[in-house]
Amino acid sequence: MKNNIVGMETNMEQLLDKIMSVQSRSDRVNTSLLEKREHIEKLHRTRNLLRKVQFIYDLPSRLGKCIKSEAYADAVKFFTGATPIFKAYGDSSFHDCKRASEEAMSIVTKKLQEKLFSDSEPTNERAEAVLLLKQLDFPVDSLKAKLLGNLEHFLVDLQLESREAVTTTLNSENQLIELAQELFTRHFETIQQHIKKKVSLSDLLAMLRTIWIDVTEMDKVLPEAALPDFSLKAAQNAVKQYVSSIFSHLLNSVSEALSVVHITPKGRMEEECSLQAVLEAGKKAVIQGSMDALLNFRQMLDDNLELLVKLRDLIIDWVQEGFQEFFRSLENHFLLLSGRNNLTSQDQGSMDGTQGDKMLMGLVLVLAQLSIFVEQNAIPRITEEIAASFSGGGVRGYEHGPPFVPGEICRMFRAAGEKFLQLYINMKTQKISVLLKKRFTTPNWIKHKEPREVHMFVDLFLQELEAIGTEVKQILPQGLIRKHRRSDSNGSTTSSRSNPLREDKMTRSNTQRARSQLLETHLAKLFKQKMEIFTKVEFTQESVLSTIVKLCLKSLQEFIRMQTFNRSGFQQIQLDIQFLRAPLKEIGEDEAAIDFLLDEVIVATAERSIDPVPLEPAILERLIQVKLAKSREQNPSS
């Protein structure tokens, strides 16, 4: 190893010597060539300069060529390249060139400006034009202001059909963002105005679609404006407004259907037709309108426009809330129509005359039946529909529960329906009550003459009941159970049920009679249900009619209790009541209760009579037959 290293040293020295010699030789070559190199470099630089000078001299013509071929980018490139020389030598050596070039460039800038402001140019070229102008140090800001001004003018005349998306890449983004947002705000305002005037769903979808396309395009160029979110919010408002407008139109259509009643009818036939027609119209408006609205909403949900997909949950909520609110307002509207909220309406009605009053009562009955229809038919159908298409999703949390609560609405309408039915019954009973009061407070019963005939108040009474019957038959359904009429089986007008009380009354003496009557009625009442008279009213023809008859008979009894009768007075009452027995049982369904009440009336009269001796049955029959004959003469059709 020592040998190797010793040998290496000599080798290294040899190497060093060689390198030194090579270096010295190359230095010699270098220095000999140095002169030549410098010369060449000088020539090279000169050549470049000359080329440049050539270029400058050629510049005007070249620019002209570019203008002709509309290659403005090249023109600008050339010009900007030459600008430093112009700056340095433009005043002295290259003066002409500079002038010519500047002329050319002014043409170029003009052309570029035109390009920028013309609407027919494609957008990227316009963008390029701006870039080029910028490179030319053109005062771009003033351009920009002018451009914005133009755009704003344009917005004012904005037509929805034309697509107008201007993309610029100007630097002041804020102004651009504002501009873009204002553009879309105007779009949505137009939509809202259309909604107010009632726009169809397809039109609305088309409008939303066009807007959304524009938004996405602009978003590509200007992501900082956050246009999708902005337009989403605006679209949210528009869709919400659309949904609520559908509901208000629905409410309007129902109230229009019901307001037909206020048109004064001319003949009686017209009245009858109109009530039923109003009910049908009302039903149709509610159910058909709701179904149409739901169809609309479902179409909206099924649409795959991105905007609507994002709003899906919200739409579901709005639809449900909308229905809840609609039914609440509908109930309020019914209450308003019936005049319940207006305390003085009853009196105004009576001032206007019986016609207006009658119409109001008819309307109340229609409202009652309509409320029940809503509760029994409309709500279940709507609930089904909503469960099918509008369930799931929704923005409200679980703790609030679903916004559409069919149970609550059903309860509300059932209660309203019952209220209206009760109101109808009250109004009709009040009307008859006036008639009865007049009958019993006018004559002097204590000095009454012998009964010659059945009193005419029975005619008025029965007429009123008949009128109620026709109204009720139009609107309410028939009851399911038809009670067997006693008169159907044996054809007699008197009660076939043996009534020992009545027979006894005729045999005992006066003083005993009063006491025993009292005892008997007590006993009789113990075995009869007191609640017979004031049972709950059902929504059937029979129930309403029999309730009215029962209430009128009760009123009759109360009026009688306030009077004192002599024998003839007692007999007159007996005659009138006996005449009423058959027709009242025909009208009202609850025969037993009506019989009971008529008996009560007779008992009350007997109690209030000084000398309650009844008419002979034969005379009673004869007078009744006379009355029947007379009424048959007057009404040959009945």
């Binding site: 003083t511 007590h522 109360e558 004192t564």
Partner: protein, 351 residues
């Protein structure tokens, strides 16, 4: 049989319409009832509720000529009362006194203190001023209001002033304002008229109210409650007579009588021809009810004002009276002569 009855019962022998509370009796809770029988001998019963509240005892039974249509107890003397009666054709009105030591006599007779004999029309009612001692009396008949001065010593009553209501209207009843000795309410066919009896002039009226019976609120001024046949019960503030401050449904048929509790004025009793007595809770302050209800959005709607319905009666209930001494006790009278006394202690509002 009907369901379990909670009240204490008492039977008058005949039919009756009138029962009143003996306000002046501060030692006992007692009532006076009068019968209405056309042919029999009529009676006035003095009934006392036992201290345990479980029994009604007849303290005195007095015969009275003619059937009694209106009965009113003197507020400052427990033995004096007035009746309006009729004998079929004619009507009469008188002030009576229960004789002293009536408990000891076999068949005590009522002493007639005064006869109000200036009436020519059907007499409707006699009113005593409920809030104190005065010698004035008001009587109302179909056409007129009379103001009398009663002299118990001389046993006379003299007409002080009188006014007619005119041919178009007829009175049916009335009530004396407990807060104002000069104001009286009179129910007319289709209105409630308010008269100043010093001037004998009509001062105010509530129109379109077909009231059968009215009762003033003794705790609050200007509040009156009316019972109407079809509309039920309405509470009015006389300062705003156009619209009632509260309406209650009333009864299934007519609401015959209404009585405001003398101590707990939110409790209102009503008697109806549907053989029931209803107890209502209704505050007389106008603002609270409607506004607060509309603000709340709770699914359960309004609180039902009907506290209880007593329907243990066989016939229409015409007579109704709260006891002044024990204001949670009331007496009711149905046409068949049955008196029922009930307690509403469980419904009293917490104070």
């Amino acid at each position: 049989m009907q369901g379990g009855s909670t009240g204490v019962g008492y039977g008058l022998k005949y039919q009756a319409r009138c029962i009143v509370d003996v306000k002046a009796d501060t030692d006992h809770t007692s009532f006076i009832a009068g019968t209405l029988s056309l042919k029999e001998e009529n009676e006035v019963h003095l009934i006392r509720l036992s201290s345990a509240g479980t029994e009604l005892i007849c303290e005195g039974l007095f015969s009275h000529p003619n059937e009694i249509w209106d009965l009113s107890s003197c507020p400052y003397n427990p033995r004096i009362f007035s009746t309006v009666f009729s004998s079929g054709e004619s009507y009469g009105a008188a002030v009576w006194q229960i004789p002293e030591l009536y408990g000891q006599s076999n068949s005590p007779q009522l002493e007639q203190l005064a006869s109000l004999d200036a009436h020519t029309c059907k007499i409707k009612c006699i009113l005593w001023w409920p809030s104190g001692r005065t010698d004035k009396l008001i009587s109302i008949d179909e056409r007129n209001i009379f103001l009398w001065r009663l002299d118990s010593a001389k046993k006379t009553a003299k007409v002080q002033s009188q006014e007619t209501v005119g041919m178009l209207h007829s009175f049916s009843g009335g009530a004396w304002d407990p807060h104002d000795q000069n104001a009286v309410a009179a129910t007319c066919d289709s209105s409630i008229q308010f008269w100043d009896i010093r001037m004998m002039k009509k001062t105010n009226s509530i129109e379109h109210a077909h009231a059968r019976n009215v009762d003033y609120n003794t705790k609050k001024q200007n509040i009156i409650v009316s019972a109407e046949d079809e509309s039920g019960i309405r509470i009015w503030d006389l300062r705003m007579p156009k619209i009632p401050i509260r309406e209650l449904p009333g009864h299934a048929h007519w609401t015959w009588a209404v009585r405001v509790n003398p101590e707990y004025d939110e409790l209102i009793l009503s008697a109806g021809t549907d053989s029931a007595v209803n107890l209502w809770f209704a505050s007389a302050t106008s603002s609270e009810d409607s506004k607060s209800e509309s603000l709340l959005e709770s699914p359960t709607r309004k609180v039902d004002p009907l506290l209880n319905s007593y329907n243990d009666y066989e016939d229409s209930v015409y007579g109704l009276a709260w006891s002044s001494r024990e204001p949670w006790i009331f007496a009711s009278l149905s046409y068949d002569g049955r008196v029922v006394v009930e307690s509403v202690k469980s419904y009293l509002p917490r104070r």
